[in-house]
Subunit: 308 residues, 2 copies
């Protein structure tokens, strides 16, 4: 009997780390003789498009619904972020660098979560542990995932392991970390062509808190004024989205990659909890978060704690 | 500032793998310069007492409540099995070989779960990965946890990795796997002095299913008749316990380690679901489960599936 196909899938609204780590991990599994394919559950964003073109790699197939399939989760482990149908799929493995979320399994599986800068960093470690060679294009993908998620090693989530592995992967790919990183950042900053609604929902995650749902979007850019100047249109879009999806509140983090600061738009209830958790004041639906760059490390944990 | 003490703690009703892996993992962390202590949240059972005496190791301290403490979870990752106060503790790491359970964290942590025979096997791998030497007494503890959880490599949860690591640890400790394994099994079988209630609750776990709680006890023995002959007294104890704790149902698996079969006592509701899930028939509150040795691998998954 041939082994059933397993799919490596990242989160909804996939970013470069989600897409690149799914391709890289599927390749590792294939090298070990397993029937594994990369997949995605959302559109390729412009930054990831640049990366796939650059290393001449095909898009992973789009899975509309994963019901009944065997799934390897990368770069997330909570149901609010999974592909449609995940509660009726069989999760057979988890590779991630986020908080331990609410995904449960019926039987023991491989689950590897580490507090490091990217899932791509962890996949690189797994290549090393299993003694599998990293091809040049796979090194390029993993370097891209790593540099994208760590804002070219500037995010507070960055560890020494990320720095060492970035250099190692850059060596295999034959690129310079800083130079290639700047190219990537420029892709991330292509905001000009986006509608206000697309700015909010482009890199967007939902979190279950206090029996309801909270939405947190993030725009990472070197030109924050492109968002802030359109604040009325962006806030209108946020009110619309919050109403449609019944969020407790919705916030959009506009993160200045060069200044390493964030301006947050806020709409919804529990404003005082938001203010206390993040030690800020919301005025006219906007708040300053000096030094904040990471949604995962600097925004979600204090909000979760305060919402309990 | 000195680092806050972290405690390595296994599940309630700790078995030999829970106690031994907590001591072994704390030792590994100490060797890496961390302020980590082993702990337990329940009484030492007779088999574990034999192991600790044999390798001249002190009992880990008993933690009555872990509120506010930093905790490394070993050998479990669901709240129904954790030490009291765990929802108000900070889980900083998870090392386990069970299903992915409901423990969540606010921030990214190290979480390592593998589908292998024991947590002690996984801790041995971590010694290897970090290049830390295994002292003779620690090898003895990990071998004991491994052999206890895999019924001396006979349980269907046993993998080739467990077999190889058992031989490796036996070499360091200077014991013979089969001979030492038989000594351990005899300790596990010391049922004569137990009351019927102690037989039910000695190795006992709770599981959340379908909005309620199910209790599953297991007696692993080479003399099952010592339990089966007292069926009326054992069933009386089970009815009492079920009423006290409001379980949907309560089952006691009486597993014959030599014949590799199980007789199950069953009290409570949803008998037809139990019968379908385990492909058996309950008559006079008792059912045969031929070939069943592992609660985790052969009983819990089909019950969870059927109870959905």
């Amino acid at each position: 009997m041939t082994q059933e196909t397993r799919y490596v899938v990242g989160h909804q609204q996939p970013d470069t780390d989600a897409i690149c780590s799914s391709i890289a991990y599927a390749h590792l599994k294939q090298e070990q003789g397993e029937n594994v394919l990369p997949a995605r559950c959302g559109e390729i964003n412009p930054e990831t498009r640049f990366v796939l073109d650059r290393f001449e790699v095909d898009d992973p197939d789009l899975l509309e619904d994963v019901t009944g399939k065997q799934i390897i989760l990368v770069d997330h482990n909570e149901y609010s972020q999974t592909a449609p149908g995940m509660r009726n799929a069989e999760v057979v493995e988890i590779i991630d660098h986020h908080r331990v979320g609410d995904v449960e399994t019926g039987t023991p599986i491989h689950c590897r979560i580490e507090p490091i800068g990217s899932t791509s960093t962890l996949v690189t470690k797994l290549y090393r542990e299993h003694g599998v060679d990293i091809p040049e294009h796979v090194a390029g993908l993993m370097l891209s995932g790593l540099l994208s998620d760590t804002v070219v090693l500037r995010s507070p989530t960055t560890t020494d392991e990320d720095r060492n592995i970035a250099q190692e992967l850059a060596g295999i790919t034959g690129v310079d970390v800083e130079k290639y990183g700047r190219e990537l950042l420029q892709q991330k900053s292509k905001l000009g062509e986006k509608t206000p609604r697309e700015m909010v929902t482009g890199d967007f995650k939902e979190f279950e808190m206090d029996g309801g749902t909270v939405g947190i979007g993030q725009v990472e850019t070197v030109t924050p004024e492109q968002v802030l100047e359109q604040r009325h249109a962006v806030l209108d879009a946020m009110h619309e989205i919050r109403e449609e999806r019944d969020y407790i509140f919705l916030t959009l983090l506009v993160t200045d990659l060069l200044e390493e600061d964030t301006e947050a738009f806020f709409v919804g209830d529990r404003q005082n909890v938001f203010e206390q958790a993040l030690d800020t004041t919301v005025e006219d639906e906007q708040a300053s978060l000096p030094g904040v760059m990471s949604r995962k490390k600097q925004v979600v944990p204090p909000l979760e704690e305060a919402m309990k």
